[in-house]
Amino acid sequence: MTTIEAQGVYYRELNEQLRAAVRGGAKEVVLEGVNGQRYIAAGLAVRAKIAIKGVPGNDLGAFMNGPRIEVFGNAQDGVGNTMNEGAIIVHGDAGDVLGYGMRGGKILVRGDVGYRVGIHMKAFKDQVPRIVVGGRAQDFFGEYMAGGILVLLGLDESNHRPLAGAYCGTGLHGGAIYVRGALPEHNVATEHVRSRPITDEDEASLRPLIEEFCELFAYEPDEVWRVPFSRLTPVSHRPFAANYAPNV
């Protein structure tokens, strides 16, 4: 295991040290004293494990293609921006636009997430990006989502905010949003998505994600499954078709 002291180290220097460590064959790297350094592990295409102590800066793991990052703290905005493969695990909360344009891999967050999580996520063949949120999400959850899986658990029942903020699923035209319990209807973009109970097939695709989430964050799977899940599905593959002039 390689430890890199990040306190006071500029993000470029920190990323150079991290890349040098994994190039040198390190399979596990611990970044100590991280605070606000941007772009950590951006574009890395290796199978290393990276532990982050502290609060990483924006665009953690952007364009990442393989590593497994574990954040022992909160994460800021833009986690997993356009990431392609690998995993990001956040033990605290994470900010806005998490998983923006994500194309593969997975992100698991124990706590709450901010605005526009999963915006423009997409899937292609066996590349299916997955995001699991243990807490609650703010507005525009799954906006313009084209593919992949978003799971929203709302496990902290002492929190009385709605599971997701307003405009959930606006412009969604592919993929699945799974919700433990139900969303208030006025927070769902009902012109673009419909809610229905999950099927056996849905449950099969959810199960490994829930198991992994529970193992990571010490939850009982039975407790998670105690509340029935629902699924948001797209109404149309072209939700804004009516906004354009017809082809004549």
Partner: protein, 359 residues
């Protein structure tokens, strides 16, 4: 001072702290927080507002004046002497030179008692004098005009601006800081944040797309937009709605970032009518566009986002201190061990009040 054309748009970094118990801390305390946000900014503007920094002159208006040249300064000074009893006039202390700060204007400050007749409303009258200097005296700008508070700003990176103005020598119970990234206009000293009027100050990340409408609306009430930056209207709108029209901070924010009509229709009876009336009355005060702002005043500090969260903002608490910033790491650079960190709901202000503030 290089004065450009119309408005400015920016993508910036900001942080503020409020000690609700009035505990005063050095201006140097906030600097690591804004330095951490260096990469959000581009060196074309940095600034700070501090509250409680002039206790020896707490009853006097503290005017910070920047002037292009001696002629402008003489003209402004003559005007101030005619309108106010000048208790103290001095240079604003700065470093003689700083490698990150150039084109330094003449910087002076004045501690002033207004010479007004009893039938005048003192604050309106003082604002009129500020507007007069800024609009009528060529090359002179009052960039701070409150009591027991002050704004310090320049073209440069915020951390350099702090060194230049020797910020660590002041003590305040509230500090806000801003690093600028102007994208639409040239940078000049007056266009750096904060923007102030009396004790109100605003630092802002974003763009006020409704600047034109807001400006024309404000001009009807005697506000003159002279600083060529959109953020200016935010200060004047807050002054109009809160100080002059007597709205609470919550209500003023509900007018500036009014809920969408669909949300107003869903509001409980009573509240619904109030929100409707606010939107209709203050339609021209509606602030459109992406923004995160910190509004500070003698009684506290408010963090405030546009309705759909188009700019970052995070809040935290430690003991009696409230923090609001563009990034959590910025706050943790000031105070690593926080009691609580949260992501405020967009459009709903985070309101910090002094424990002893009159509200």
């Amino acid at each position: 001072m290089n004065r450009p054309y119309e408005k400015n748009i920016s993508g910036c970094g900001l942080i503020g702290l409020l000690n609700r118990d009035r505990r005063r801390v050095s201006g140097g305390v906030i600097v690591p927080g804004i330095r951490l946000l260096h990469d959000r900014t581009n060196g074309l503007g940095g600034g700070f507002a501090g509250y409680g920094i002039y206790p020896e002159y707490a009853e006097l208006y503290a005017f910070h004046l920047m002037c292009d040249d001696a002629a402008a300064q003489i003209a402004a000074e003559e005007f101030l002497q005619a309108k106010f009893a000048v208790e103290q006039a001095e240079e604003i202390p700065t470093l003689k030179r700083h490698p990150g700060i150039s084109n330094v204007p003449l910087l002076r400050r004045y501690f002033l008692a207004p010479k007004i007749s009893p039938e005048e409303t003192e604050e309106d009258w003082v604002i009129a004098q500020v507007m007069h200097v800024n609009a009528k005296i060529d090359g002179a700008f009052v960039f701070s005009s409150g009591k027991n508070m002050g704004a310090f700003k320049a073209v440069g990176y915020a951390e350099d601006v702090a060194e230049f103005f020797r910020l660590e020598e002041y003590e305040g119970y509230c500090w806000t800081a801003h690093g600028r990234f102007p994208t639409n206009t040239q940078a000049w000293w007056g266009g750096a944040h904060p923007f102030t009027l009396l004790d109100y100050s605003v630092v802002h990340n974003g763009e006020i797309s409704s600047y034109g409408i807001n400006r024309r609306y404000l001009e009807q009430y005697g506000y003159r937009c002279t600083l060529h930056t959109d953020t200016e209207v935010m200060v004047y709108l807050l002054d109009l709605l809160i100080r002059r029209h007597g709205l609470s901070i919550e209500t003023a924010c509900a007018a500036l970032a009014a809920p969408f009509w669909r949300d107003i229709e869903r509001a409980p009876e009573g509240e619904r009518e109030v929100l409707r009336a606010l939107r209709m009355t203050y339609g021209s005060a509606l602030v459109n566009g992406p923004f995160a702002i910190l509004f500070a005043h003698s009684g506290g500090m408010v963090g405030f986002n546009d309705r759909i969260k188009l700019r970052p903002m995070i809040a935290a608490e430690k003991g009696k201190t409230l923090y609001v910033a563009s990034e959590e790491a910025s706050i943790r650079q000031v105070e690593p061990d926080l009691d609580r960190v949260w992501m405020p709901k967009a459009g709903e202000p985070v309101i910090g009040c002094l424990e002893d503030a009159r509200t």
